[in-house]
């Protein structure tokens, strides 16, 4: 599929970087879809790797046992994950906050342990023999497709309703928004794209093992979303790219510290959270040290105009002072 484009890309990209780009692309799709649930709808979801696993195993089983073609298997993987999204979403999305987090975490473990104990999935031995049909052009197309679909979704009426749920669920309900239905819909759409990403994963890695879809994978995906910025799609692209590439960068530029690269990874997250708690491109109004420091500088240096107007509203125009103070 898209062999000419693949040939072109392979002609000037080293196979190592080619592989890194494929993993970055798959992670971007996962982060984008998780951002819809966690960033836009405000639901803490700790089991996203499970949807990826469902998609990966669906595609893997179809490819190895049924001989299904690539595109059909990828679509089936997305649909299967979406069905799981509805089934899990309906009961759990009535829960809020910590309870939802625990429920989704439990769901992730159930999927992993089921895959570990089924015979058809190969259990702990894993599923082998999937042909390698994912390539970089397909992944790039999938990323663009996911981005465009999610962008039009969050900019639509429904997207506004999701953001309303994130900001204040009770208020959203008062405004006539069917919160449960919308939360389940956002969960299902996210599951669909995670399933697609899982299928691309299966056709790239050729071997599936339940341990590749554990709790830590869900947490890493969440870290990508938070790092890039909750509620910002471009942020997820940046977050997934940086957090996937950073460990590889340390591998090549600093082999001596490569074994300790996770420390740097963690340190970077801590620094970002201190400086910008809403992530690199986040849209929430939370202020970190960086903003506070910038705001102080701004209020101090140009003492004549902006600072003065912000601090001492002129008595005559009372309305202006009430704004975003």
């Amino acid at each position: 599929m898209l062999d000419w484009a693949d040939g072109l890309l392979r002609s000037f990209i080293n196979p190592y970087y080619y592989g890194v780009l494929v993993t970055i692309g798959i992670n971007i799709i996962l982060a984008l879809s998780l951002n819809l649930v966690t960033g836009f709808t405000g639901q803490l979801h700790l089991g996203h790797a499970a949807f990826m696993a469902i998609g990966a195993y669906t595609a893997g089983l179809l490819a190895t046992k049924a001989g299904t073609g690539f595109w059909a298997a990828v679509l089936a993987a997305g649909l299967m994950a979406a069905v799981a999204g509805v089934i899990v979403g309906l009961p759990t999305l009535r829960l809020r906050g910590d309870y939802l987090a625990i429920a989704t975490l439990g769901f992730g473990e159930i999927v992993r342990i089921t895959l570990l104990n089924l015979d058809i999935t190969g259990g702990p031995f894993g599923l082998r023999g999937i042909p390698r049909q994912t390539n970089l052009p397909i992944v790039i197309l999938a990323v663009i497709f996911t981005f465009l679909v999610l962008r039009s979704l969050v900019n639509s009426r429904m997207g506004r309703a999701l953001i309303a749920i994130r900001e204040d669920e009770v208020a959203a309900q008062t405004m006539g928004i069917d919160t449960t239905r919308l939360k389940v819909t956002s969960f299902t759409v996210a599951a669909f794209f995670a399933g697609i990403a899982g299928a691309l994963f299966a056709y790239w890695f050729r071997y599936l093992n339940p341990s590749s879809f554990g709790f830590m994978v869900s947490i890493e995906l969440l870290a990508m979303v938070v790092f890039g910025g909750l509620g910002n799609l471009l942020g997820s692209v940046v977050g997934a790219s940086v957090m996937t590439y950073l460990p590889e960068l340390l591998r090549t530029v600093a082999p001596a510290i490569a074994e300790r690269r996770l420390v740097f990874y963690g340190a970077l997250l801590v620094i970002i959270m201190i400086l910008r708690p809403n992530g690199l491109l986040g849209t929430s109004s939370e202020q970190g040290w960086l903003e506070i420091w910038l705001a102080r500088r701004r209020s101090r240096s140009p003492a004549t105009t902006s600072a003065a107007s912000g601090q001492v509203p002129p008595a005559s125009t009372g309305g202006a002072g009430h704004g975003p103070a």
């Binding site: 031995f125 894993g126 890695f205 050729r206 093992n209 590749s212």
Partner: protein, 383 residues
Amino acid sequence: MKGLGYPRVRFGSRLAFGVGLAAVLAALLIMGSGLALAQQTVVIGMLGPLSGDYATYGVSVANGVELAINEANASGKYSYRFVLRKEDTRGDQVQALNAINKLIELDRVTAIVGAVLSGETLTAGPIAQDAGVPFITPSATAPAVSEIGDYEFRNVITDDMQAAQMAEYAVKNLGLRRFAILYANNDYGLALRRAFEAGVRAHGGQVVAVESYLDGDSNFSAQLTNIAAQNPEALYIGGYYTEAAKIAQQAALQGLKVRLMGADGFDSPELINLGGAAVEGALFTSGFYNGTQDPLAAEFVRKYEAAYGSKPDMFAANAYDSARIIIEAIQAVGPNRAAVRDWIANVKDFPGVTGLTTFAENGDAVKPLYILRVENGQFVQER
């Protein structure tokens, strides 16, 4: 010196002698460095978990490979200078794939020791196979590993083979007939159970009870009661030392008099620390014995301990042998990946620290297996 009656030399001639000596040394040095420059550099890769949950295994493997390469470079016997590139997989599939791509495409390795865990080997192995890079895994025991292809070699004794040999030894050499099996319900325990049961039957013994447990269980009294009812002579435990030690103690408490047996999951000093008197006399199979009298292996244990401050385990020993096989192959046929593969495939009785090693048609090592016994709180060699 004076007593030997050498004539006294004047300062001037001493100076001349010194200058001459310095000149000769400098000439030797230049020639030496010229030789060193002429020595071609060959990169050998190592792939495994150097961080994360499985880091102990990966670090042992990395140490074993590093020791072999440092020795080879220091010996001056080889026409190449070997360089080690270690890549961390964190025990994770995604990292394993990127790591092996880097070793092959950026570092241009001639051959690889790794990967360490079965899952990462099944992900990274096909990449090396497709690229035509020979690799020897020192530790991945999953059956499917040998199906990766002809560039894959496995220098570790598989779970099946361990259980089969223990069954044969127990029936033929110890004359035991009635066996019970208690296994951990995971891939390791399941493989051991199947092979042990088949082995016992094949040699005319009887398996009278089969029970299982889950990793992390701490109460085995129900299973042991069922086992005791069948009155077995020996109990084969397919699992790791933590549970094995507890099983031994609870069996002793129940008054169950059986010979305890197991595989390399027993191979840790913790078995004795946790099990105490209850594990006395227990037998288990292992690919390496670090208290061995074999001169080659004893020398390795000594050098490893001097370099890393701890005794080598089976992972380190297998990795050391694997790296030495690769070094000898490169020395024999040059840094050509296909030629190195052929050399490894055809090596006969390579004298390793884990015994004479030959690779079978499917790439699995055929080599001796130790049977160890717990005696007075120490591991001793039974066979």
